[in-house]
Symmetry: C2
Subunit: 96 residues, 2 copies
DNA sequence: AGCGATTTTACCGTAAAAGATAAGATTCCT
DNA sequence: AGGAATCTTATCTTTTACGGTAAAATCGCT
């Protein structure tokens, strides 16, 4: 973590989860039972304070019947790292 | 983990990462330098033996210049967030 | 077959995710 | 305002991701 773009990613994903949950009228407690993930853990994820594992995200998506892509929906590539300078960006440089 | 669908998810995601890496002609060692993730860790992820964190997947996607969705691409759910049967599917049951 | 590169596996530390529980803080009511 | 539900935060324990290193195993290659 520590990184700034990563914190934004976690915050974005968390916000999408919370929005989806709100649409479905579920409480954290209810989603906790559906996913098997504790309510405190879900809270941390939704508020971007935790870096969830892939299968954790899947359980959340499944419980709410949305695709993983719906929750991830990065768009990250539009955001920032879209294009690299001719030989810029981060290449392997001198490491060959 | 332990779950079967979860193992399949990890295997699928790992395979997609490996395919993407192959297309770009990168070795694990090279991808390790680009991502800051060790080659052994990448190997475990690609072979579906590890459940990576969200930011780990992001670093991998970024390094290969593909979207997170490209790597996740579950396809399991086509459903949009909106439709949740009034009292259908798996509900909270008796837990109220 | 043998060599070099790549990949896998194993072991050890550290850090962090996740469950449980409990205590605070919010928000939403009437 | 008060009370109830919901959400957040804290603490503790267990599990596991991740890096480093090194040793196997695998895959080209000529």
């Amino acid at each position: 973590m520590v990184d700034d773009a990563e914190k934004k990613l976690l915050a974005d994903v968390g916000r999408r989860i919370r929005e989806t949950r709100a649409v479905q009228g579920l409480s954290l407690e209810q989603l906790a039972r559906l996913t098997g993930i504790s309510a405190p853990a879900l809270s941390l994820i939704e508020t971007g304070k935790r870096d969830p594992r892939l299968t954790t995200l899947r359980r959340i998506a499944d419980a709410m019947r949305v695709s993983l892509a719906t929750i991830i929906a990065d768009g990250s590539h539009a955001a920032k790292a879209s294009d690299r300078a001719p030989s810029g960006g981060y290449d392997l440089g001198e490491y060959q």
